[in-house]
């Protein structure tokens, strides 16, 4: 289980040469996510989603609060936790001069997957994602759809228990997005826990069991999409979010 306990992250921004301002990208975020559950982290750009996911993935340190995964903390068990997690962001590109199989092998080596297990797992992944025809081609020569499959496949190489997806469908066409959404549903059915950040409310509504709405670094609502819609007397998450923040006018 992933437990996020009162996580705060403070940044200092240089407004001008002399003036600096402090602000909280995340301000007291608390929630948990269990195995076999897709938890959507929703909010507009700048809400604090990416910072929160980076903290959960252990690549950023919180200013205060802590993340506990299966009873372990980053302060004491960083390697063990990272071996349980796969992190994928929509903005990440892949190394262009290597082949999908070389990428899988490289990731497996980083996770210290034993060689025999790794070889077997690579073959399974190649088959699962239909990568046989381009398995030895350079990634730079692959189509967007093929690249997307390689991106997801590298998350599987160490059989993670938890997936953290940060806007994975951002900028993708319907077909490429569907590959990711299918994968997320399948892994959920396999009992994995998935944290799924997006600003596409409809997408979250379709796949998430539970959503956490974040605005200005704070949780403004949590629950299943239906529960949130019911409590805000709306028919979809987009309207529910607008209702919770008091409308666009309130923001501008």
């Amino acid at each position: 289980m992933i437990e996020v306990k009162d996580v705060k992250k403070k940044f200092i921004k240089n407004v001008s040469k002399k003036k600096k301002i402090e602000f909280y990208a995340d301000n007291g975020i608390t929630f948990d996510a269990k195995e076999g559950e897709i938890v959507g982290i929703l909010g507009p750009n700048g809400a604090g989603k990416t910072t929160l996911l980076r903290i959960i993935a252990g690549i950023m340190e919180p200013t205060s609060g802590e993340v506990v995964i299966d009873g372990l903390t980053y302060a004491k068990n960083e390697t063990e936790i990272k071996n349980k997690i796969a992190f994928l962001t929509g903005n990440t590109k892949l190394y262009k001069d290597i082949s999908p199989v070389e990428l899988l092998r490289m990731c497996g080596e980083f996770y210290e997957v034993p060689n025999e297990v790794l070889n077997k797992r690579i073959e399974e992944i190649v088959k699962k994602f239909n990568m046989e025809s381009f398995r030895e081609q350079k990634i730079s020569n692959l189509s967007t759809g093929q690249t997307q499959r390689v991106s997801i496949s590298r998350c599987l190489v160490h059989s993670p228990k938890y997936y953290i997806f940060d806007e994975p469908t951002s900028g993708l066409d319907i077909m490429s997005s569907q590959v990711i959404l299918d994968f997320v549903k399948e892994e959920k059915n396999n009992g994995k826990c998935i944290l799924y950040s997006t600003h596409y409310m409809e997408e979250a509504e379709n796949i998430c069991d539970r959503v956490i709405l974040i605005h200005h670094g704070e949780i403004i609502a949590t629950g299943s999409p239906k529960e949130i819609e019911k409590s805000t007397k709306t028919t979809n998450l987009r309207d529910a979010f607008m209702s919770l923040i008091g409308g666009v006018e309130n923001e501008i």
Binding site: F11, G58, I59, F87, N91, D97
Partner: protein, 387 residues
């Protein structure tokens, strides 16, 4: 810190460098310019030294057989004119390089002493006058039944060469090596520039650094792996460059250039070893400086702008000797400048052990400081995420 993880990052980065055709072409191109540089310099020197050096001297008097013999040895041809006005006009028209106006026993030499090549011709003209004066003096002494040696050679002296490597050809070869080594350090800086931008800011720009950080790797392991990849690429480039320079000089001295005919170019093992160690230090320092400069950049383009200054530092030692600045205590402490100057000293057989030790010790200190600096940089979220 796990060495296995550092090795995995090193492997990943080396694969990236070797498979990036654009970068690899640039690196190979830089390395293979070095032997061309050696051939070019050797041929240039040969052209300068074996060219037609005969100078024309204007005179207003008849040249006798004895004078002619001295002038021939000094590569002088003479042209006779009747007056100073005619000599002056001939000089201005470029018909003669200088002229001598003789009145009774007084010889007045007219030459452009500020012009370097004209000044060298002037020294030869002075040599002609001194030799002729000596010839006349010796003749006079003989006519008075005095042995000229009793007047001119009261003491006996001989000059002995104490540096076995100081044959004329070795002097020129060492001079070419000095320039080549400055080029090699510039090559190291250029290779660092080619690799560092992509390995640091480029990886941030692509978002792959964020992915790397999600693996069970420590930021120190990532940066040391990258540091080693840049260092090894630049070092291998520098060693190949050095080997090619030595091989080219061997070829030049054996076959092609008239200036080196019948001479054997040799370089001691000690010199080679010290050179390799200095190149190793230069690579370590430049790689560290490259990462430190590029890490704060948000994009590959910005990193390359930050790194451009790195190429200028190793060029400085090439110009210092032109201003009469030699290795001293202060310069021995300055990284990259000290390496360049001491390499020059080694090949002009003018090495000062104290400066050499200071350079080695200070280099080690700089390398340690740079490693601490870049490992701290890679712990900073501001650097890692370009915040």
């Amino acid at each position: 810190m796990k060495f296995r993880n550092i090795f995995l990052i090193l492997k990943k980065e080396m694969r990236g460098i070797l498979r990036d055709k654009k970068s690899l072409t640039k690196i190979v191109g830089l390395i293979f310019i070095a032997p061309m540089f050696v051939f070019l310099m050797a041929f240039l020197y040969d052209g300068l030294m074996s060219g037609d050096n005969t100078n024309v001297m204007g005179v207003n008097y008849d040249i006798n057989m004895n004078e002619q013999s001295i002038l021939s040895e000094l590569n002088f041809k003479t042209k006779k004119y009747n007056s100073k006005e005619e000599l002056d006009k001939a000089y201005k028209n470029g018909e003669i390089d200088l002229y001598i106006l003789k009145t009774d026993n007084k010889y007045d030499l007219y030459a452009d002493t500020l012009n370097m090549s004209s000044s060298a011709v002037g020294q030869n003209a002075v040599a002609y006058l001194e030799n002729y004066n000596r010839f006349l003096s010796e003749n006079y002494l003989l006519s008075e039944d005095i042995d000229p040696d009793d007047v001119y050679n009261i003491i006996d002296y001989e000059i002995h060469e104490i540096n076995e490597e100081n044959t004329n050809s070795n002097y020129l070869a060492n001079f070419i090596i000095q320039f080549s080594l400055s080029y090699i350090i510039l090559t190291i800086a250029s290779i660092v520039l080619i690799c560092t931008g992509d390995l640091t800011a480029g990886e941030k720009e692509r978002g792959t650094l964020e992915t790397l950080l999600t693996f069970p790797l420590k930021s120190e392991e990532i940066i040391f792996g990258k540091y080693l990849a840049i260092f090894l690429t630049s070092l291998v480039g520098a060693f190949i460059c050095f080997a090619l320079c030595i091989a080219s000089l061997k070829i030049v001295t054996m076959n092609f250039v008239e200036l080196f005919e019948n001479t054997v170019f040799s370089i001691s093992l000690g010199k080679v070893l010290i050179t390799l160690v200095i190149l190793l230090f230069s690579s370590l320092i430049l790689s560290g400086m490259g990462i430190a400069l590029a890490s704060n950049a948000k994009s590959y383009k910005e990193a390359n702008s930050s790194l451009a200054s790195l190429n200028l530092i190793p060029a400085i030692p090439m110009f210092l000797p032109m201003f009469g600045i030699k290795t001293n205590l202060t310069l021995s402490f300055i990284p990259l400048i000290s390496q360049g100057l001491i390499l020059n000293d080694i090949y002009s057989s003018n090495i000062n052990t104290t400066y050499l030790i200071i350079m080695f010790v200070s280099s080690i200190v700089y390398i340690i400081v740079l490693i601490i600096l870049i490992s701290k940089q890679y712990k900073s979220e501001k650097v890692l995420f370009s915040l």
